[in-house]
């Protein structure tokens, strides 16, 4: 959550130790962030090799993640437009993109930082055209964006032209994801419906039996299922082709804000927030998709940008005073 960072920073500033519920979570490194750089939110690449930070100066900063050697700043990428509103990697980690608060999108080759595309949604940058979510197809040829309060759109990167306006009954979309093979696009829409499209934006299936909004969705690594989480405080699995509900996992105490299913095998990690406020972090949980109860990773720490699995460990990140903290959970 955008303002969740404030909570994490406050925890750090007060010198409070995070109260982790399990002993399996260990800090594996800190990335020093100079005082003049204000990090807004983070995203770990699907292969766990790098970390991209959306910064207040409208730049992306990409660090290597600590492994055998310490982290280092790999590159700084320029993003035109107002403040960065969303980040996304493609499923294979080949592409990274950012959207902004005035309708612009920038896409880069993740491993080199080479600019791949710049799009202006609607043809002209407009104040207030906040793009709340983006998704990049694995081949980098398509980008889906979610303008605030209006239906999501599918864009062609090579021609910089819009291919389709995707349907909603009302409102916009909270989350978008391409299937790992790039043949399908899923949207979690504010009208509570999950919609499945083909790569050209043709509607193929809907799941409209959820009464509350899903805030996050992610295809499973095999692309067969779609994992949903949101205000109903539970994980729902739907068929990745038909949209039919396959399974709902046990309901928890907090609304689910983000999900990470990529390369995590049969496990999904969720971050959450309390009913009282979206600023109050709830539990971070690891869910086995077979339907058993989830395992708590942390009761109240606000992770952001985590979820990638590397060397059998789940990588998660938090903000601290002057640093990004990288955690690993087994």
């Amino acid at each position: 959550m955008r303002s969740g960072l404030r909570v994490a920073l406050l925890v750090s500033a007060l010198g409070l130790a995070p109260r982790f519920a399990t002993a399996e979570l260990t800090e594996i490194g800190r990335i020093a962030v100079p005082a003049e750089i204000k990090v807004r939110f983070l995203l770990v690449s699907p292969d766990g090799e790098q970390l991209t930070a959306a910064c207040r100066d409208r730049k992306l900063r990409v660090w290597s993640l600590p492994s055998a050697s310490p982290s280092r700043l790999l590159r700084t990428l320029e993003v035109d437009g107002e403040s960065i509103s969303a980040l996304a990697y493609s499923h294979d980690g080949a592409w990274v993109g950012a959207s902004t608060g005035n309708g612009t999108v920038a896409v880069f080759r993740a491993r080199t930082g080479e600019p791949a595309a710049r799009l202006i949604i609607g043809g002209k940058a407009r104040a207030g055209l906040r793009l709340g979510a983006i998704a990049i197809s694995p081949d980098g040829s398509r980008i889906a964006v979610a303008p605030m309060n209006t239906p999501p759109e599918l864009w062609d990167v090579a021609s910089a032209k819009r291919r389709a306006i995707l349907a909603t009954s009302f409102g916009g979309s909270n989350a978008l994801d391409f299937s790992p093979d790039g043949t399908r696009l899923a949207s979690a829409d504010e009208d509570t419906t999950i919609r499945l499209y083909d790569a050209d934006g043709g509607l193929r299936a809907t799941a409209d039996d959820l009464p509350l909004e899903s805030f996050a969705l992610a295809f499973t690594p095999d692309g067969k299922q779609l994992v949903l989480g949101g205000a109903d405080k539970r994980i729902t699995l739907i068929d990745g082709m038909t949209g039919k509900v396959v399974r709902q996992l046990p309901k928890q105490a907090d609304s689910i804000a983000w999900l990470a299913a990529r390369r995590a095998g049969g496990t999904v990690v969720s971050g959450s927030f309390k009913d009282e406020s979206m600023d109050l972090p709830g539990a971070t949980l690891a869910w086995a998709l077979d339907g058993s109860a989830p395992r708590e990773i942390s009761a109240q720490q606000q992770f952001n940008g985590g979820g990638a699995v590397k060397d059998g460990r789940l990588l998660l990140t938090t903000m601290a005073e002057g640093a990004i903290v990288v955690w690993a959970a087994r």
């Binding site: 309060n149 009302f170 916009g172 509570t192 009464p211 009913d275 009282e276 406020s277 979206m278 600023d279």
Partner: protein
């Protein structure tokens, strides 16, 4: 107000055919109907964000307040119209808001309702004054209004008495960055006895044709 089931043009044509209206030479019924529509046009109600806690299948009721509910009783009313000024009794109005402590009922349907306007397009509901949701600056009531042949309207109602405005909503409505239009901040009339004060607010809902 003409019948909602008859368009202005149909009404005019019917009146001419029945001899109860006549048109001067050089004027066509279509031109007159267009001028009539223009004169009656109403601006679309400003849109506002849907918010994160919309819930489908709200109960069909106009009474969300239960006796003993904490919070000042609130009565909201208005009309549902098209931008041509026609009443839309076939619309469906959904409203939802927090309790007086600022919490949405996510597990159930407290302070959530859906209903149809009356034949003339008027609507009314009873509830309580919502509290301040911690992530929002101002008290608010969410609306989703749908009607056949019209663009859905997603908006929010705010209260001029909200302490955030410090008595001057004209000057201070921008303190909530989500309030996109001063028009959505409505005057509040306090009525009743000193021991039983109700807040009364009006908001018309104007939908754009598809």
């Amino acid at each position: 107000m003409p019948s909602a089931r008859l368009s202005r043009r149909e009404l005019l044509e019917k009146s001419i055919a029945a001899g109860v209206a006549s048109v001067a030479a050089g004027l066509t019924p279509a031109a007159i109907a267009a001028a009539w529509d223009e004169a009656a046009a109403r601006p679309r109600t400003p849109e506002n964000a849907l918010g994160p806690f919309y819930k489908k299948h709200a109960p069909d009721t106009r009474t969300m307040r239960i006796a003993g509910d904490p919070g000042m009783p609130l009565a909201v009313s208005g009309g549902v119209f098209s931008t041509r000024g026609e009443a839309l009794p076939e619309a469906t109005v959904e409203v939802w808001h927090t309790d007086n402590r600022g919490r949405y009922d996510i597990d159930g349907y407290r302070y959530r309702a859906r209903f149809k306007p009356a034949a003339g397009g008027s609507y009314a509901f009873d509830s309580i004054m919502p509290g301040h949701y911690p992530d929002r600056v101002c008290q608010h009531v969410h609306y989703l209004v749908t009607a056949p042949g019209h663009r859905p309207l997603v908006t929010q109602l705010y209260f001029a008495t909200d302490p955030v405005f410090e008595g001057d909503p004209d000057k201070n409505f921008g303190r909530d960055p989500l309030i996109v239009s001063r028009e959505l901040v409505r005057p509040v009339m306090l009525v009743g006895d000193p021991g039983d004060v109700h807040a009364v607010v009006t908001l018309d809902l104007v939908l754009e044709r598809l």
